[in-house]
Structures are given as structure tokens and as C-alpha cells.
Amino acid sequence: MKKNKKNNFMLTDNQMAEFVSKGYLIFENIIDDKTNKKFLNEIGHTSTSLNKKNTDQSWLAEHYNEIMKTSKIPLVKAGTSLKKAYRKKTALNDVMSNPVLSGAIKSLVGDKPKLDHHFLHITFPSEYYHDANQKISQGNHNDCVIDPREKTFDIQLFYFPTAVEKNMGGTRYIPGSHFRMVNEYAIARYHNIRGQKHVVCSAGTVIIFHHNIWHGAGINNSKKIRYGFKIRLMPTQKQVKLWTKKTYKNNHKEEALYWNRGVEKNSIKEILQKTEPWFEADSGRLDILNRIRLWRHITNDKNFDAAYWLTRIENDYN
């Protein structure tokens, strides 16, 4: 994270490359306790004695209805500018004004993003449920129908106002899955994927995900309610050099594969070529190609390459 002349924290090149490569960035504990408590107070009705009443699970809908009636979380029209979405002095405005988070949002989707949707996810302890079918974790999915965009991306902020402990079933997500064009729950058959991660974090953590990342909610085996507030933002401009004014020009000649001294540690090229444990031998290479293509786009460096992945297939004289 670096501070620019306007006193904004913008992402670094390496953080941008991490996002391109993995499809997420984690900001652990960046929202202070006071704001977290303020947010929890603003949620509204949050009775925890819900499971005592009935066995038909109607309490779940009733609970959400009560929250909707009493909550200070605003109803926002889809497409509202982020700047106008949350009133001043509200917890959500405080969260989105956090300088680190604000800098990350500007770096990824610019300074005029629009709100696509937002939602308070409440995951109740499994003991609240009487029906065995409701004690099953959520299947893997992405949050979109088939999305053919290759350069433009939305971001989804997951804000955790309370700590998420291991047995609370924090969101499971698949690093590096954001280039895979699938249709929502079509991937639910994939129960487990090598290298999958589960959110375990302290209160006040925010994770920014690429909109297409594969994920699913875990089962909450604790006695505490798990909260996650999701905000999806869409850009209103080309996502090119939004985090920097630097000119990128790929003039670094690499040593040819495979007889070389290895890729420079923590370099952009290394970050973009880091494979995930679940990558197939063949499709995983295509994912790397797609990362390089996105990096070319966001840096406006049309000649950028790593290990000749794109140069090789672009060498066509016909």
C-alpha cells in the first residue's frame, strides 16, 4: 500500500498483480472495533432466541423481515453511485471511507463506481435448524450467470464485522478461479477443490473478490451467528492504470525457458505465473495466459509477457 500525492492509499503493482492472479485481496482487521460495533447496532433486530419457537423454519424469513423493518442499512437503487449510496455518519459510510479500502476500490474500479447490489448475509448456527437438509453447506458457485467480459471486472467486498472462527463455516473460496467462465451453480458438483480456502479472520476484515471467483458458504458449527456484508461495485470507466500514473513498458529480456536462473522472486512475472494446486496441467496454462492478457490491459503495456506465453502464439506471419 502506498500513499499518493492526494493522500490516498492506492494498491501497489504487486497487489494489483496478486488480484489479477488470485482474484482477491485480504485486508485483515482494517475496520476498527468502534465501527464494527456501530455496524452491528445498525443491523437492527437480531434476536438470538429464534430456534425455540417452531420447527418449520419460518423464523428465518421472519428474522430477515424484522431486520429489514428495523435496520439502518439503506435500501439503495441499483446503479447508484457509491458516493451517494451510504449516508454520512452511518457505519457503512465509515467502512467505505476507510482510506486503505477506499484506495483499493479506486485502484480496481476507479473513483466513480456504481453499486450493483448489497446484502447482509446471516449464517445461523446449524443447531438452529431442525431439517437435516438445511445443515448442508452451500455449493460452490460464482455470483453471475455466464459473464463473457474478459477485461472489465466488478468487485465484491465482503465485510466481516465480527471475527470468523474456524468452526463458523466462513466462506470457502477457490483462489485463481475467476477466469473460469461457468454458469453459477453449475459447479456445485465440485464439493472440494485442492487448495480451497475458508475465511477465518478477525473482526473488521474486508476481502475484495473478483466478481467471478468460485465460492460457497460453509456450515456454522459454532453457537454464534456469522455476519458478512457484501457490496458489489461495478466500474464506470476502463480499468486501465487506475492505481498509478506510471508508464509500463516491457523491455526486460528474460532468459529463455527452461535453462535459466528462475523467475525473480516477488516480481510481477512470478506472481502471474504462480499456479494453483487445482490447476489442470493444460487449462492451468491457459489461466496463466489469461492473467497475462489482463495485466497487459490494466497496465496498457501491450507487449508485456512472462515466459513467452503470449509472444509464442502471437508469432504469426500469415
Binding site: R189, H191, I193, F279, E280, N290
Partner: protein, 87 residues
Amino acid sequence: MKRQDILILYLSNSSLESNVIGWARHYGDKKKIGMPGDNDNPPYERGIEAVHDGWRLFQSSQLEQHPRGDEYRTGYLKYEFFFEKIK
């Protein structure tokens, strides 16, 4: 009554000898349930190990030609193998 247990493996290439990168278990016994995210460690390192352990392969995915113009698009996991055990 005999029941079918099902194991689905996703492998890193089209060979049954290759590494397991994804998996799901389903049980004929309704008291048991396999669910998303229930295990971070694969049941076998390689696909063939399931066969060595008595699982019977009954379906695997076909190799498909890459459509022109869409050669670099990635999507679903490609190498899917269905196994069963009758108990």
C-alpha cells in the same frame, strides 16, 4: 439391500494416473452425507489409487476439440471420473 456409494474425482489431466485436484463423495446410506467443503485433503493423491482401493470406474469425461475462437477460454474442470462401490 445393496447400496451405491459414489466417488467423483477430478484429475489434472486425462490419465487416470494423474493427480486428484477435486473430489466429492456421496453415500447410499442416508445417515451419511458428503457436502461442499467437507475436506481440504483429497481421498487419494492419484486417480488410479481409487481403483487400487476397490472403486469401480463407470464413467469418465470425453476429450473435446477446442472450438475455434474460444481456444483460450477456461471453464469447468475437464477430467472427471465417476466411481462406485456397491455395499
